[in-house]
Symmetry: C2
Subunit: 569 residues, 2 copies
């Protein structure tokens, strides 16, 4: 029986038949690895995800963490799952061997981690945050900080958070007011309130290492005045509580198993990461990783929703073909009804397209070069936002395919939807990603990032039977981008930025489908036929959506700028 | 301070300035009414909705009905609210005075009831179901049945349900297996299991009157063998329990305050409604009303979501305009950000457009004629499905506009989304509505319904400055419809029926916006400017979505028919 968590067959296709990650083992960094070790980590990931993560996914949802004023209670399955995960070594999957890492390629690590995100997104979040925290410190911390903070994280003893937002400063980090005061001994004290801190407090680990954005006295206004601090929950030497207290837990629509905290820092002992005033720059290192992680999480939730819907549609018998005349004929499986097929095929195109994109992005990380770095930088807002919207739609379709049953909590798909809803919000909303893409990524370096992206897309499209509309879309996107920025007026150029993100996102996924169709070639078998089918679907049913979006952008429409707020009601 | 439940200003505009419902008082049926009585019912609806319904909306969600094996426990606020509602007389708002009704026009009743649906959709559902039940019996029951069942409903003593679905027969009523056996005295006994019965059991009323679809022994297969029965929970004379037991409650993603039951009928005393074999025909009377009610409920939930989002966007300060350079400048209200405005304006266009449509439909009911009946029949699948999709999107936008806060249960918008998610499922899924529209409504009578609809749309568009693209869309929809049916092959004609519903729906709402812009004229003031703005938005940003949909339909694409299920994965 096939897994309803994720498809190993698809991962194998993407990793080995398409991206050919085996060739990475020719690189010194991955020389110890082979197809066998990659497979072993994929196997163990599926095994742990299905055995230790998936079974408590609903229990997580029904039994949120609670706070009695003293400690946070979490169902015991979470600690157990995280312990097994840490023991597998996967937390340091991509890290250097000298720090206890496995030096796995990012593409393989990403594929492994998707199993956990699909099986239990709330429990996997603790691991994802800890990994991101450790990566940041490996890149910007001192050897001493790495030893004291990162190594215990990789051993599963400590967990990590990122503390950016404040109640009045979510998307707008320039308004962060938490302040840090330098002490005579070179250490710091941090005071302020932080909001939306996932994994912000719990008893799952001996210690929680908070990475906190704060403003040193006298620092300039805006993001340039932000510095980054390590603030442990407990003193590493004495185990005594630091000045970090849990002011309360947030209660969400989904993602309920992950504690999400309001934290009060009061004169908390802290140490600086790197240099003062560069906090946001360091944090972006973690945020870019987190954004790809969010996109992956959205793919994972959409993928498992799709697999559940597909299994249900094959099993559930109801209705007859529209042309059938005999009401006494037996009902058919609902997968035979065109509208159910439409939702399934659309979902397949979203989740497999999204999966290809996140693995493609991870594979760029494995082959660093100025060109690949630029391409990844350009793609990041799409990797984050596109799956958050469209793989969420796969979960929405999964509810609809299940009908009334899908709307009940007896079936898992409504939870997938609720969990996935967060992905369009955290780590930068879709609207923020749109501004990042059109306002920064496609303009910087004289438009080099967009030119490179379109070159890559065109190279794929030129050799594809399905390529003509994709080539046309590339030309249109280039022309639209140039036209938007011709006057150099950011307010006007960016007024319909979301339409731009939507159009660019669909073009990128069309590219991912041409790539997959190319890798499938004319190979025999249902799996490859499915890849060709979904590629055809995406190019013929989905890509045309971008026409009206580009028309709107080309028209120079500024309705959203020109209106008066009072007209809204 | 403006209400965040619904906009009385908008209702007044639509009812009085656009539909001119005052002129209905020239009809004999409404002769006792006047603007003053209409206003009085609108006033009292808002008052009761805000005072007795809205305050327990979240409590309803957090405290679902429970069943201890003996009785169903519901928070006491529900019974109180329903009592106040019954006392207002609104349950029989449109019914004949001889039965205790108020003979209000449907358009006014609809506007009144929207207040309750927006304030507390779960509590209002009990009233909606009872009203639908009573309407059916008024149309098809005997005088005796009306006296015994309908009158106590209007007095608030009894409530009603509709029992169609069974575990194996949701969308496909031809598979209903509940059976009825005729007794010597002319009464019947009903045995079988029914599923998804809203209001199916509770202690809110003295008795529950179930309307049950069942098959009399020897009846033909399919829907033609279905008859309709009245099955009271308790014997009217003795008060003893009938053979109807609660087998369990369903637990849903939203709509949690409405009991939703699995009912077991075992040798339950029943009486026939009308004639044997005409059950589905009678039930459609109730279902058409219910479908308009579902569309209205979707509008109501989207509308209140929009009003909450608008209030939040004006209050919440964050970020600066993209062109601003000074990070020390104070933040602006987020309503100033174009992407927030995009979501607000889109939502406004959906919820006010949807509201116009449901009131237009109700107004057709108030002026029965062969033409109006045909138009309403044609519009019904759109009235049901369009708000279920797009006003739900307004709730989705409302979450996004609230950011992280909107995703928490501290704010009401996530509940609006969850509640609204049901509307695309119950009373016929969106996919079923699409088949109804393209397979039945636009083809019957030689296409008279579509021709009439397009005539009405064209008449409006021809006098509008915004009319050109709407006229073009009318021509395209007519041509596409003809092309789809040219070969007379239902399987091929209907394969992309959902795309057809989406296109027709957006065209109809564009029409509703031209109508509103026309009614607003060039009147001064923010309210009218808002109507013109939203009309412009809908025609320029939304209507173009139908281009790719009609292109797909015109292409004769049959991808969804041709695929093999095994290719899906």
């Amino acid at each position: 029986m096939n897994s309803t968590v994720l498809s190993r067959r698809d991962l194998d296709f993407l990793l080995y038949e398409w991206l050919d990650v085996e060739k990475l083992t020719a690189r010194e960094r991955f020389a110890e690895h082979s197809r066998e070790t990659f497979d072993a980590f994929l196997d163990v990931s599926q095994q742990i995800a299905e055995r230790d993560f998936a079974p408590h996914n609903r229990k997580n949802d029904l039994n949120e963490p609670t706070f009695d004023g003293t400690r946070v209670e979490i169902i015991p399955e979470v600690a157990h799952a995280l312990r097994v995960f840490a023991e597998s070594g996967l937390l340091g999957a991509t890290m250097d061997a000298e720090h206890g890492g496995l030096q796995l390629p990012h593409a393989v690590q990403r594929a492994c981690f998707l199993w956990f995100q699909a099986a239990n997104t709330a429990t996997s979040a603790y691991a994802m945050l800890t990994g991101g925290n450790a990566h940041l410190l490996l890149a910007h911390g001192t050897d001493e900080q790495i030893r004291r903070f990162v190594h215990p994280m990789l051993e599963g003893r400590f967990t990590g958070t990122m503390c950016l937002s404040e109640p009045q400063a979510g998307s707008s980090l320039s308004d962060v007011t938490t302040r840090a005061t330098r002490q005579a001994d070179g250490s710091y004290r941090v005071t302020g309130g932080k909001m939306w801190i996932s994994g912000g407090d719990h008893e799952l680990s001996e210690n929680i290492i908070h990475l906190v954005l704060a403003r040193v006295a006298g620092a300039p206004a805006g993001v340039k005045g932000l510095s980054l601090f390590i603030v442990p929950k407990r003193d590493l030497a004495t185990g005594e509580r630091n000045g970090v207290t849990l002011a309360g837990l947030n209660h969400k629509m989904g993602y309920r198993g992950t504690t999400n905290a309001v934290l009060a820092f009061e004169d908390a002992a802290a140490e600086l990461v790197g240099e003062e005033g560069r906090g946001l720059q360091y944090m972006f290192h973690m945020m870019n990783e987190a954004r790809i992680g969010v996109g992956s999480g959205a793919v994972a939730l959409g993928y498992t929703g799709y697999l559940h819907a597909l299994a249900y549609a094959r099993e559930r018998q109801q209705g007859r073909p529209v042309a059938a005349k005999d009401p006494a004929a037996p009902p058919v499986p609902i997968v035979d009804h065109p509208d159910v097929r439409r939702m399934l095929l659309a979902s397949k195109s979203y989740v497999e397209g999204g999966l290809a994109l996140v693995l493609y992005a991870a594979n760029l990380l494995d082959q660093p070069s100025p060109e690949n770095d630029l391409l990844l930088d350009t793609l990041t807002p799409i990797v984050k936002a596109w799956p958050s919207q469209w793989c969420r739609l796969a979960d929405d379709h999964a509810i609809q395919i299940h009908g009334g049953y899908g709307y009940t909590r007896e079936y898992p798909v409504e939870q997938f939807y609720r969990d996935n809803r967060l992905n369009s919000i955290h780590e930068g909303t879709d609207g923020i990603q749109a501004l990042d893409l059109l306002g920064r990524k496609v303009t910087q370096g004289g438009g080099a990032g967009l030119a490179l992206l379109l070159d890559r897309i065109r190279a794929t499209a030129q050799k594809s039977e399905l390529g003509a509309p994709v080539l046309a879309a590339c030309d249109r996107l280039a022309a639209t981008t140039a036209k938007l920025w011709a006057a150099g007026d950011p307010a006007k150029a960016l007024v319909n930025a979301t339409a731009y993100l939507d159009a660019a996102g669909h073009l990128v996924i069309a590219w991912m489908w041409l790539e997959q169709a190319d890798a499938a070639g004319d190979s025999a078998g249902d799996f490859y036929a499915g890849k060709r089918l979904a590629a055809t679907y995406f190019v013929t049913h989905e890509l045309p959506r971008i026409g009206p979006l580009l028309d709107l952008l080309d028209s120079g429409d500024t309705l959203l700028l020109d209106l008066e707020d009072a007209w809204l009601g």
